[in-house]
Symmetry: C2
Subunit: 396 residues, 2 copies
Amino acid sequence: MKYTFSNKLANMKPSAIREIFKSLSDPSIISFAAGNPSPLSFPTKELSEIAADIFENESAAALQYSVTEGYSPLISDVNRRMKEKFGIDGEGNQTIITSGGQQAIELACKALCNEGDAVICENPTFIGALNAFRSNGAKTVGVTLGDYGIDTTELEETIKRTENAKLLYVIPTFQNPAGSTSTLDNRKRLYEIALKNDLIIFEDNPYGELRFEGEEIPTIKSFDTERIVIYCSSFSKILSAGMRIGYVRGPSEIIQKMVIAKQVEDVHTNIFFQMMCHRYLNEYDLDAHIEEIRALYRKKCTLMLECLDKYMPREIKYTRPSGGLFIWCTLPEKINSSEFVNLALKNKVAVVPGATFNADESAPSQSFRLNYSTPSDDDIVRGVKILGDTAHELLK
Amino acid sequence: MKYTFSNKLANMKPSAIREIFKSLSDPSIISFAAGNPSPLSFPTKELSEIAADIFENESAAALQYSVTEGYSPLISDVNRRMKEKFGIDGEGNQTIITSGGQQAIELACKALCNEGDAVICENPTFIGALNAFRSNGAKTVGVTLGDYGIDTTELEETIKRTENAKLLYVIPTFQNPAGSTSTLDNRKRLYEIALKNDLIIFEDNPYGELRFEGEEIPTIKSFDTERIVIYCSSFSKILSAGMRIGYVRGPSEIIQKMVIAKQVEDVHTNIFFQMMCHRYLNEYDLDAHIEEIRALYRKKCTLMLECLDKYMPREIKYTRPSGGLFIWCTLPEKINSSEFVNLALKNKVAVVPGATFNADESAPSQSFRLNYSTPSDDDIVRGVKILGDTAHELLK
C-alpha cells in the first residue's frame, strides 16, 4: 500500500537538531548543541527519598489512573509559586499540569488554530514550538527579535499583513536560542498590540528561575488584566527534564479546551512524578536548590564568555546572557555560516545553526547557538578554542 | 476578548464518563463505571526496589531528556514479547514507546487524517479513541459490533458510502465496552476488506494479556503481510496505569510520522518509568504476575456474572467475557435506558450508559457497561442486587 499522510504532517521532517544529536553519539565530539540542563541540577538524593516514601505510603494513587487536569496539590503549589515569584494571579484563570512545557504549547495551538491560521513568533525562536505549530497545520510567521525584545514596529506591520493570526508566541526571559531578555517597556507594548489585534499571547518561561545576574523583570502574565495571556513553565530545568512535568495557566475557557485535547493525547501526566514534585516543593528547599543551579550556570556562562573573548576573532558577536542556558553567536557576512557549522563539526565541536530556529525554515542565518549548561569546564575551554580556530581559518 | 477556538475543538465537550466520574467523589456510591485496573495488579514492592536501584545507579539518564522514540532496551523487550505472545514480527515495521496507548491512537489519527476524513470503528467502541479522532477533526463512523466481531457485510457497505475513510479502528480482543472477542475468521475477513479498500487498520489491544478463559486468538497484526496494521498495547493493565507507558508497532513510514508528531506533543515519555518497565521485564517474572491478575479478574467476573444471574430480570441480556475488564448489559425495549442509568445512580450505583460509546453521539443505546476489576467483592454483590431491583422496578 502507498501510505498517504495528513497535509499537516506530510511535509514535516525530523528537526535539524535531531540530526545533529545523532552525530553526538561520537564521544570524541564536544557538544555545545544540546539544550539539556546540567545533571547536577537534579536533586537525585531528595527525589530518591521521596520516591521510597510514595511507594511505602501512597502507591495505590501513584500507580493508578488520575485526572487530566493534574494532581491538585501540585496545582496549588505551582499557583502559589507563580504568584510569589512571578506576580501571576488573577481571577478567571486556571492552571493545569502538562507533560512538559512542550505539551502546553502544542495544546494551545490545537485549541486555538485551524489549519492555515498563523502563529506569530520571535525570529529566531524555539524549534519545538515552531514544529508544534506546524504539526497542527498553522503557519509560522517570524518577527525580528532584538536585544530588547521583539521589534514592535515590525510586529504591528506583520499583524496587519497576516491573515488569520491567532497566537503570538514569545519567550521574553532568557530566550531560546538568542539568550536575550525583553525589557518591561517592550513587554507592555507587545501586550497593547496583542490586545488591540485580538491576539492571544503565549508566554513561554522555561528558564525564568535561572537568572544569575541583574534584576527580575515582570512577566507579561503578571499584568494580564484582560485575560489574553497563556503562561507556561516547567520543572525540567530545576528538578528533572526526563520526568516531563510542566504547567500552564491561562483564561479558564481556553484551558478547559486544552484539557479536552490533553485527555485524548495522554489521559494525564505521569502521576507518580507529579506527586514527587508536590512533595519536593513542600518538604525541601527549592529556592536553595535553585540558588545552586544559578551559581553553577553563572560559573559556566562566565567561563564560556571568557573563552569567547579570548579565542574568537573580533568580527564574531555574541550575547552576554544574565540567565538561561544559551549564548547566541553571530558571524560576519564574509563567513558562510553553514560552512562554519560543518567545519566546526569536522573539528569535533557541535553547535546548532541559527537557520534551524527561523520561522521561515528556508531563511538564512549568520548565527549559531551555544549551550553552556551541559559540557564540562574542560570541554568549554577546548571547544571554544576550536570554534575560535575554525572562525580564524574561515576569515583568512 | 471573545475567545475563538479551532473548528475541531470548538464543539467538543468533556466526555460523559468524566461527568459520571465526578459523582463518584461521593463514597456512598458503588461504582461499576470505572475502567481502572485493580490496584492489586500493580507490583508495588518490585517497582519500589527497581526505583531505588535506578536512583542509586542510573539517575543521570533517568532524570535527563531522552529520545522521542523511547528507551531502546524497552523497545527490544516489547518487540520480543509481541513476537512470543502475539506472533507479531515482520520486516518494515518499527516500534516506539508512547505515553499510554491513548497517545498512539491520537498520533496515528494525526498522521493519517485530515479534518473531515473518516475513521471507521466498531459501534460501540472506546470513548477515548472516538474523542481522539474528533479532536483531530475526523468523522467517526460506526459499524455494528456483534458477538463474533464487527459486522463485515455492514463494514463493506459503510466503506462504500463513506468518503475519505482512512483508518479502521478495532479492539478485537475483550472489546471495550462490549467485552466481546472477534473470531479468527472475522479478523481475516476484516483484514481482506481493509486491504481491498486501502484502509489502515489500527488494532488496539490493551486487554490482550488478560485472558482468563478459552484459547488465544491470533492478533490481526500477526498475519499483516501487507503492512497495513498499526498495533498498540500498553503496561497500564499489568504494571501501572498512572505511569502512562504504552507502545505501538506499525509500518515504519507511518511510525516515523508519528515520531515527529510525538516529539512536539511531549518530546518523550517519562524516561524513569520506561527504565522501570525494562528492569521489571528482565528481572522479575511478568508472566507469573499476569497469572495472578488473570486469577483475580476471573474470580471477580465470575462473581459479577453469578450476581447478574441471580438478581437481574431475565429480560436483561449480558455478555459472558473470557477476559478484560467489562460486562456489557442490554435492557429490553420497554425500559428507557437513560431512566435506568439515572435511577441506578439515585440508588447509589454508577454504570456507564451505552450511548457514550457510540460513534454517533446522538444515537440511542439500550446498553450499559459494568466494570468488575475495581469494586470490592462486597460491592459487586450489593451493587448488582441494586441494579436488579432497579430493573425490576422499571419493568413493573
